[in-house]
């Protein structure tokens, strides 16, 4: 493998050939370059605000004080959102823009029937495209995350503890999973709709619905079923649970819940806590394992949503009859 001449003499599995081609397509496309620029700029912007404010946010009795490094990703002075908010906002954009024309552009170019008449299984194409996009996203997010970490080490001069490092890594993995959800949704629309513009628009519509309108709807429902001021604790508790459950249908909610817990080790619960539960608890950070355990259901939910979208696109692609153009 070290010798490039030998590498060119090897027979490579068709699946890897497609993946390689897709990755090189992505990396050399204008779309990707623009995306990288946007994401890199916003990340550095948020890092800048984090670095200028990091001295003011650490208070003497802050339970997260030990995790100074993680604050790089979470603090902001109000002018620019923090790093993780940026990722949760730009992640869908990244996923959608890498996926919305996966299948339909191949069909419109007339390359789909040509590729499928080669001795490859039909699902290689869609799997390879998914793997390629996911690889690109993973490399991008890891690079950005580590870049922020590296710059943080240089500027604030404090290296992250291993615990902080692993929280970071899990945060990036979670972000990849979140982007993968949007990627799969976009791939599904690209199989369903012939026109790339239609599928891009549908993805953006779903995204807008989830970020803007869904919240409004939940607020309306919340107003309607709001218990009176005299209601018992139990009723208020159940009311809160219902609202939370409604919100947790959103992948973005799952993602921000999970990232909050991972990046702020002092967060102990994502739902309401009763006084009895909190009594005697010393405000302090949770170990990584406990934090992960806390968000396990969120992670599972995200994985399920991602897999569901992939299965839908896979099935509709496999059943589709491939004609030229």
């Amino acid at each position: 493998m070290n010798n490039p001449v030998r590498k060119n003499d090897m027979v490579i599995h068709p699946f890897r050939v497609i993946v390689q081609k897709e990755i090189s397509d992505h990396v050399s496309s204008w779309r990707f370059i623009i995306l990288i620029l946007i994401i890199a700029l916003t990340c550095f912007g948020s890092m800048y605000t984090a670095l200028t404010n990091i001295s003011t946010v650490v208070k003497a009795n802050d339970p997260d004080g030990a995790y100074l490094f993680l604050k790089l990703y979470t603090i902001s002075d109000g002018t620019l959102p923090s790093f993780f908010v940026f990722v949760s906002f730009l992640g869908p954009l990244l996923g959608i823009s890498l996926g919305f024309d996966t299948v339909n552009s191949e069909q419109n170019k007339g390359t789909l029937s040509r590729i499928l008449s080669q001795p490859v299984h039909r699902d290689y194409l869609i799997n390879a495209k998914f793997v390629a996009s996911l690889t690109v996203i993973s490399v991008l997010l890891f690079a950005l995350g580590f870049l922020v970490m590296g710059l943080g080490i240089i500027i604030i001069g404090i290296p992250p503890t291993p615990e902080e490092f692993w929280r970071m890594v899990f945060f990036i993995l979670l972000s990849i999973l979140y982007v993968a959800f949007w990627l799969n949704l976009a791939i599904f629309f690209s199989v369903r709709f012939r026109q790339p513009a239609t599928s891009a628009l549908s993805c953006i519509a779903v995204w807008l619905f989830f970020t803007v309108f869904y919240n409004i709807i939940v607020n309306l429902i919340a107003k309607a079923i709001e218990p009176s001021a005299m209601a018992s604790t139990n009723q208020v508790f159940r009311y809160q649970e219902i609202i939370l459950t409604l919100m947790r249908i959103l992948p973005s909610e799952l993602y921000s819940d999970a990232t909050t817990v991972l990046l702020m080790p002092s967060v102990r619960s994502l739902g309401p806590l009763t006084m009895e539960q909190v009594v005697g608890a010393i405000p302090g950070p949770l170990p990584l394992g406990q934090s992960l355990l806390l968000v396990w259901s969120q992670i599972t939910g995200l994985i399920a949503a991602t897999v569901l979208c992939f299965v839908l696109s896979y099935v509709s692609f496999m059943r589709r009859e491939i004609r030229s153009r």
């Binding site: 040509r114 008449s117 080669q118 030229s324």
Partner: protein, 328 residues
Amino acid sequence: MADTIIELADLTKIYGTHAAVDHLSLTIRKGEVFALLGPNGAGKTTTILMMLGLTDPTSGSVRVCGIDSTSNPIEVKRRVGYLPENVGFYDDLSGLQNLVFTARLNGITANEATQKAEQLLAKIGLSDASGKKAGKYSRGMLQRLGLADVLIKNPEVIILDEPTLGIDPKGVREFLELIVELSREQGLTVLFCSHHLHQVQQVCDRVGIFVEGRLLAEGNIQTLSERLFSGSPYVIEACITHTISEEKDLQGKKYSAGWLNKILKPVEGIIAIDIKEDSILIQCSRDAASDIARAIVESGAGLNYLSKKEYGLDDIYYRYFEGGENHE
């Protein structure tokens, strides 16, 4: 037969209630150049998709190179090169890169693929454009690149769906000659699909006429015309300058049927007389050209020209399509 390479038996594909391909049985021998002719929507592309295992037949079986396409499409696709209608390439890759990509999908190493692609590009006359992006190729260049793309996997059979679409007449001729030349060189079986008869007529050994999912006839052009025109094998086309006295019967037409019947009555073997815009077509059971000429001249009318019509694929084709409609 031992040298059968494509074998379709009772192949049927039904979309909803519409039978796109209706009990099609067809065998193509090794090394043959076969043309499947039919109008748009006749089910030609569907048939090809079934041959490649890209779509499953409703019933019947397809065997290509002795392999069942439905249950083992990968092996079939390894041996069959398919040039789809309106073939497309990756615009951002050069012609060479596009070919290398296809070759590597077929399990050819990168080095070997580059070598082969360069050879093929030289053969199809695109060496100069090999580094140019495929997005900048002209339609004719794309079709030739498509041919190279089909040949790079060393196929046993090549299937070309409407290969001449969008190429200018000169280009069509060159392209078809190139296909036949290359396939003879390598002993390939070629299956064309087309609705352009003239073009395919020049190069194919055998023709199948395919209308509304059914194969109406197959054979070489000669047998087809013999079978089709067995009732009236001779058609004589005549152009007559008529006399002024007949003008009152004409009713806008150039010839009057009554008058023609009268003067041609003495000639034996005439089956039908068909009056066209500028000429008349006379169908006969024997070669009656000289008798017809004499009859016309003796009637006092002027004979501009008289010719015996040869049947081309065109006539066969139209004849069949008319026939096809009549079956309904």
